[in-house]
């Protein structure tokens, strides 16, 4: 049995709207989309392979980055391109596909990955559009197919607020997971590590899988973040890459090699205080959330999020599930004034500190809204970030290094080891309401530009 790695720092934000372990077959969505902003590091203006009106099948290429033309981004459904939505500076935000309900798919190579060579495996992943599931540290961007990573890390549990239970999602998919792992083992000469939750018995899908090394973690969020797990297992060093992939996406890879098609079916947890029946839905990557929300979301001004409340992206009530997301969250907007809100006892407010009397109710679940809860200030309080970041990193000093654009210092303070999601709790607890995640991303972008 591997020894348990205890994570002491962190914070579990207890929200209302935890998903029940019930799987609902979602009604097929009318529209689907692939969203270039989901992919950090991708050019804001990727080259489109299709135009409005083009017919596509599941697995047909939609766009690619001119700098890395081998990495294709493909359609999750068969149908017709109906829109290419653009944002500021003509940046491509969404490529929208109207489903024809035929589910025709492009076929790719199938076979046992163990008998294929690395080049064949990589080609299959690139052509089918599943390569972008594989991301690298440093910088949390899509992995470069030419690199040989030191190791590949998979987190076997999600500890974020209201996160889906991965054991439940992966239940019954052990065979595809094994195939997926076999594919991954062709990509690295190093090990494949899986971090599992020590609180529960290890799920069969992880326990039975061959060719992986299991590590047990116990503790509050972000214990389930792969970045935190890497930091405790074997931190990223300067000049090397490690790759990461979400557990559910390993199955997509497995199915590609088993069936020869890109299978974007996935379980998504619909969560949050404004969802009437929070449950799991079987739907597709990129699907519009409209059918999920039908008669299942409370009236009112709501924030719809693809992902969790800490790192997810804002979508509309007809928006699309993000490429990497297994969760959709609905919480109330907080765009109202609160009289003397900072001075109230605060039994309904949640805080990582004990400055509100709600700390006397440790098991209470909260309805939290999107108010910023105060004005933006310079850094004043110290030690707050450190309490929620279980990594050997000085978070405030790293952020300051990014703000003054000191590349050497950023490097020395460990920018290669972190991703935005690892710092999301720092952003949550920040008394000065600093935009921690976007500062970190700007640091990554600066590094990528400087390093060429």
């Amino acid at each position: 049995m591997p020894k348990v790695i205890r994570i002491k720092k962190g914070l579990d934000i207890k929200l209302k709207g935890k998903p029940e372990r019930i799987i609902i077959q979602a009604e097929p969505s009318e529209f689907y989309a692939v969203k270039p902003p989901d992919f950090s590091g991708l050019s804001p203006l990727p080259k489109l392979s299709v135009k409005t009106g083009s017919e596509v099948k599941t697995g047909s290429p939609l766009f690619y980055d001119k700098k890395k033309p081998d990495i294709l981004f493909t359609s999750p459904v068969s149908g017709k391109i109906v829109a290419v939505n653009r944002g500021e500076r003509r940046r491509i935000m969404e490529v929208v596909i109207e489903s024809d309900n035929k589910n025709e798919a492009v076929t790719f190579q199938k076979g046992d990955p163990k008998t294929m060579n690395r080049e064949e495996v990589v080609n299959n992943l690139l052509k089918s559009g599943v390569w972008p599931f594989i991301r690298q540290r440093p910088f949390h961007i899509i992995a470069d197919p030419d690199d040989n990573p030191r190791a590949i890390f998979i987190s076997g549990f999600d500890s974020a607020p209201l996160a889906p239970d991965l054991d439940f999602i992966l239940n019954g998919e052990a065979a595809s997971f094994q195939t997926g792992v076999n594919v991954l083992s062709q990509l690295t000469s190093g090990k494949i590590h899986i971090g599992v939750n020590a609180v529960f018995a290890t799920a069969e899908v992880f326990d039975k899988t061959e060719g992986v090394e299991l590590h047990k973690f116990r503790g509050p969020h972000p214990a389930g973040n792969v970045g935190v797990q890497i930091n405790h297992i074997d931190p990223v060093k300067k000049g090397e890459q490690v790759w990461t992939i979400n557990a559910q996406d390993v199955i997509v890879i497995g199915k590609l090699f088993e069936k020869g098609v890109f299978n974007p079916t996935r379980l998504v947890a619909l969560t949050g205080s404004e969802v009437i029946n929070p449950r799991y839905y079987r739907t597709r990557l990129g699907a519009s959330v409209k059918p999920l929300f039908k008669d299942n979301v409370k009236e009112g001004n709501n924030r719809y999020i693809s992902g969790n409340v800490l790192t997810g992206s804002k979508i509309s009530n007809e928006g699309f599930i993000g490429f990497y997301d297994s969760q959709v969250t609905v919480i109330p907007e907080g765009d109202s004034y609160e009289f003397l809100g900072w001075a109230l006892p605060g039994l309904k407010k949640f805080s990582g500190s004990r400055t509100f009397f709600s700390f006397l109710l440790p098991n209470k679940r909260y309805t939290l809204h999107t108010n910023l809860q105060g004005g933006r200030r310079a850094f004043v309080l110290t030690g707050q970030y450190e309490k929620v970041l279980p990594m050997d990193i000085y978070p405030m000093q790293l952020l300051k290094a990014i703000l003054v654009e000191d590349i050497d210092l950023m490097e020395n303070l460990g920018i290669y080891e972190v991703a935005e999601e690892d710092f999301a709790l720092c952003e949550y607890v920040c008394t000065s309401k600093t935009e921690v995640q976007s500062i970190l991303r700007s640091g990554f972008e600066l590094m990528l530009k400087e390093l060429g």
């Binding site: 800490l310 108010n371 809860q373 200030r377 004043v380 000085y394 020395n412 920040c430 008394t431």
Partner: protein
């Protein structure tokens, strides 16, 4: 509160860009956000945010200092009546002290906040809440008889030179409240030291009973008058002469509990400063060559401003060390130096203020070495 909100919404356009009073935007914003938490929602990053904001954090510190203030007010009346040989009830003592201390608080806040608002206006920033704490601490660390114009001058100096020239709250190197006190100490020493300044009315000398001494325990100890020292219990309770809020260790401990329980004040700094003070005290005991060096080490913790400094001054997050290891070192050295200065240096009967200001200056250096150690570890890992 709807009618109040309506009123605020009605006058808001006048203070916005292009309005009649656009120049007072920061001032308006400060008052508005004091009354109502703004309706601003998150746009990027985490969709939910912690309920704790700067206003809450600062009000917790102020709340923690309230017991020390209330006790200080009572003690002001008690000491005064003692000096003139009058019997007075708790309530009478408190009211007397309240009337003496309140003007100091008002002057400190009016001057300090006035400057803060003006500077925020010039810079186009929101008004930072930092001075709410500094303005509350300044009255607690001065003798009650200090002339109000001196408080005003010292506050202005502390806010402008101690803080705003560095960029405002969060950027300053020295603790503003300590800067104000140090300014008073060096600019007007006659009003800040000696045996007559600590009790209201003693300096003017009217109606004082014969032979009454207003000397603080530290002054007595430094002068070798150990028979005049108050009992341990008195020093702990705080019914002794001293700055307004520094005398009662009990009241300060209540504040410490609030700060540590809420997580706003660093227990590491408080703990290590106490440890540092004890360590120096024990060192003196071991090599004692005069009676002051022989007093029990823990007496240093309840004399003078040690407790107040450790709980309210050393823990200022901006001017203390910012790394967690650094906080241990910072606190320990502050306590160590405070006792060293107060025992060894004849010119300064109290060493806490100077020790803390010195450590404020050294805090970035401590952090630098702590971070350097982390960097070296990382580089070694990359090589190995």
């Amino acid at each position: 509160m709807k009618s109040l909100r309506k009123f605020v919404d009605k006058i808001k356009p006048h203070f916005s860009k292009g309005g009649k009073f656009a120049k007072l935007h920061s001032t308006f914003e400060a008052f508005e956000s004091f009354l109502f938490v703004p309706n601003e929602v998150t746009t990027k990053g985490s969709h939910i945010r912690d309920a704790l904001d700067m206003k809450r954090a600062m009000s917790v510190v102020v709340a923690a200092a309230v017991p020390a203030l209330l006790f200080g007010m009572w003690n002001t009346g008690y000491q005064h009546n003692l000096s003139i040989g009058m019997e007075a009830s708790i309530w009478e003592n408190f009211v007397f002290g309240f009337l003496k201390v309140l003007p100091i608080i008002v002057v400190s806040y009016v001057v300090g906040l006035g400057i803060e608002f003006a500077v925020a206006q010039i810079r186009g920033h929101e008004v930072n809440e930092g001075f709410l704490v500094s303005g509350f601490l300044i009255p607690l660390v001065v003798p009650v008889d200090v002339p109000l114009w001196m408080v005003a001058t010292a506050t202005a100096f502390a806010v402008i030179i101690g803080k705003e020239v560095f960029g405002g709250t969060g950027m300053n190197i020295l603790n503003p409240a300590l800067t104000a006190r140090a300014f008073l100490f060096f600019a007007y020493p006659a009003w800040m030291s000696g045996d007559t300044v600590w009790i209201q009315g003693l300096k003017s000398g009217e109606g004082i009973i014969d032979g009454f001494s207003g000397a603080t325990p530290l002054a007595n100890a430094a002068a070798g008058l150990f028979d005049n020292l108050p009992s341990t219990w008195e020093m702990f309770l705080g019914n002794i002469p001293g700055s307004v809020g520094e005398t009662s260790v009990i009241a300060i401990l209540i504040g410490a509990v609030i700060l540590v329980a809420t997580g706003i004040g660093s227990w590491k700094i408080m703990f290590s400063m106490v440890a540092g003070g004890l360590a120096m005290g024990l060192l003196f005991n071991a090599f004692a060559v005069n009676p002051f060096m022989e007093i029990p080490a823990w007496h240093h913790l309840i004399m003078g401003g040690f407790a107040f400094g450790a709980v309210f001054m050393a823990t200022d997050p901006v001017t203390a060390a910012q790394t967690e290891y650094g906080k241990w070192i910072y606190g320990f050295l502050a306590g160590f130096l405070a006792v060293l200065i107060r025992v060894i240096n004849p010119a300064y009967p109290e060493g806490v203020m100077l020790a803390l200001l010195l450590m404020n200056v050294f805090a970035p250096l401590i952090d630098h070495y702590v971070i350097e150690a982390n960097i070296k570890k990382r580089i070694r890992r990359a090589k190995g």
